[in-house]
């Protein structure tokens, strides 16, 4: 593996973290969906480059799954859901963008600090990959925490899953069966959530998750 090869891999994995930040920054529904599609496309490129570097053809399939399902089908479906729910307006974030970004920076620093000493024995490349994957994961969690809207929470969840795939490709020898089943479980989760969204709206007339607190007797 030449320096340039690993540099490109590094660049792609780093871009994924960057796009995660873009997701946090977006406060409009459709822009959020587009950025999510970009997230999946960057992931697909990253995985495909890994496949090329590791000479692992099954990773190409993973990349294709990411590109097809998460880069095209899920964003398109979410687009339709958003239109049908009639929520294509500004998302209310619980915390405003500035502090969220700073908190995200903290999470990235944390994952670097945690991952680098933990994986001393692994190769330099895997360590970087794992550090970035953990950052993407934590940023996905942050997205789910800071958003009230159910659809943006779904996107947070999906971007989190992208982080898992990135981690999986960094670690050599992950069997294809596992990857495909992870991919499908996400798809199933997406279907369940999609149906759920409409059920929530039917019941509470909104997809703001605060409304659910009331029925649990927590607020007001």
């Amino acid at each position: 593996m030449t320096t340039l090869d690993s540099d490109i891999a590094h660049l792609l994995a780093g871009s994924l973290v960057l796009v995660s930040f873009l997701l946090l920054y977006q406060d409009r529904m459709f822009a959020l969906l587009n950025v999510f599609a970009l997230h999946a496309i960057v992931l697909a490129f990253s995985v495909a480059w890994q496949a090329h570097l590791q000479h692992a053809p099954h990773l190409y399939i993973t990349a294709l799954i990411a590109l097809l399902f998460k880069g095209a089908i899920i964003p398109a479906a979410l687009h339709r859901i958003v239109v049908r729910l009639g929520i294509h307006r500004t998302i209310e974030t619980v915390v405003s963008i500035g502090p969220t970004m700073l908190f995200g920076m903290g999470l990235v620093a944390l994952s670097v600090v945690v991952m680098l000493p933990l994986t001393q024995s692994a190769g330099a490349f895997v360590r970087e990959d794992l550090a970035f994957a953990l950052s993407v994961l934590l940023l996905g969690f942050l997205m789910m925490v800071t958003r009230r809207n159910a659809v943006s929470q779904v996107i947070g969840f999906m971007s989190l899953e992208n982080g898992l795939v990135l981690a999986a490709t960094g670690a050599r020898g992950m069997p294809l069966v596992v990857e495909i089943s992870v991919g499908f479980s996400v798809l199933i989760a997406f279907l369940v959530i999609g149906i759920f969204l409409f059920r929530i709206r039917e019941r509470f007339d909104t997809v703001e998750l605060q409304a659910l607190d009331m029925s649990r007797g927590e607020s007001e």
Binding site: T3, L4, S6, D7, I8, H10, L11, A13, G14, S15, V17, L18, F21, Y25, I97, G98, M101, L102, M105, V108, A109, V112, L116, A124, F125, R127, E128, A131, F132
Partner: protein, 316 residues
């Protein structure tokens, strides 16, 4: 020794001579993008000549600060612009004045301009100064973070060394560099009052920032401030060119031909950057003033992220 001084002086003269031309070129390209004919590219020189010949009107209650500020702003900006290697590295002052000094010089210029805006006591000047300071409080740290990223990457804060390092075999591709580049572009859009942040061509009271501060200036004072503004644009474009597209720059010890190549490469780079700047400007709408902190905050965040990622890259 003699040669480095010569390069330094040539460089200082070159930036001063080129700065209005760069403004002219960007205006021309912009006009062509908008399907207008546009003024000639030497129009800024004519404007400056006209302003110098005109009478200088000064408000009654203006203090000495108001009269002194344009010259200090011009001097600091000129020195800062002369410190960025444009066509050749190995400038005499490079060793004593690094990137952080350049940021400090620009900060000084901004401080004085804001004071001058407040000096006469008109409300527009006050608005302009307060907005400029609001933007600066984010743009300056963002610039410094980008500078830190570059310095950590190249192992030096001197621009000549950074440029030489980028040309060398060790540089390679890095996500941190990409982040620093984007941060630097955002900062330079903000600092030069370009479109998403401020519109250099408008005199609409509600939106202007830079123009509001210099509203009271006329005659030779205004001419000097205009030159300083175009020098600042030249500085940022040269900075981006010298760090991120260093190819063609003359290194220390090259022959006379290398200097000719360096000059040609520099002219090409500037034109290309001006083209992309205008392309971006015509494609985007101006932001609301209160959205700008978010935009500049992104630059700060990118700089920070670049520094963090540098530590990940350093592992190997």
């Amino acid at each position: 020794m003699m040669l480095t001084w010569l390069t330094q002086l040539a460089q200082a003269a070159l930036v001063l001579a080129l700065a209005p031309l760069l403004s002219g070129v960007t205006r021309k390209i912009r006009a062509r993008f908008l399907r207008r004919q546009g003024a000639s590219i030497v129009q800024p020189y004519r404007d400056l000549l006209k302003l110098i010949r005109k009478e200088t009107v000064i408000a009654e209650n203006a203090s000495w600060l108001f009269r002194a500020a344009p010259y200090v702003v011009f001097a600091t900006t000129w020195v800062a612009a002369a410190l960025v290697p444009t066509f050749a590295t190995g400038l005499t002052l490079s060793a004593s004045a690094d990137l952080i000094v350049i940021v400090a010089l620009l900060g000084t210029a901004r401080f004085l301009l804001a004071l001058a805006g407040l000096d006469v006591g008109t409300s527009f000047g006050g608005i302009g100064s307060s907005r400029e300071m609001m933007f600066a409080s984010l743009a300056e740290p963002a610039m410094l973070m980008a500078v830190f990223t570059l310095s950590l990457f190249a192992g030096s804060t001197e621009l000549s060394s950074i440029s030489a390092y980028m040309l060398g075999p060790n540089a390679g591709l890095s996500i941190s560099l990409a982040l620093a580049l984007v941060a630097l572009i955002i900062v330079s859009l903000g600092e030069n009052a370009r479109i998403p942040v401020d519109n250099p061509a408008t005199h609409l009271e509600l939106t202007m920032v830079h123009e509001a501060m210099i509203l009271e200036y006329s005659g030779r004072h205004l001419a000097v401030i205009e030159v300083a503004a175009s020098l600042k644009l030249l500085l940022y474009l040269s900075l981006i060119a010298c760090v991120f597209i260093p190819w063609g720059t003359t290194l220390v010890g090259d022959g006379a031909l290398a200097y000719a190549i360096g000059l040609g490469a520099y002219a090409t780079k500037l034109t290309a950057l001006a083209f992309f700047l205008v392309l971006f400007e015509t494609a985007i709408a101006k932001m609301r003033v209160f959205r700008v902190p978010d935009f500049l905050g992104v630059a700060l965040m990118l700089g920070l992220l670049g520094t963090i990622m540098l530590f990940v890259s350093r592992v190997r």
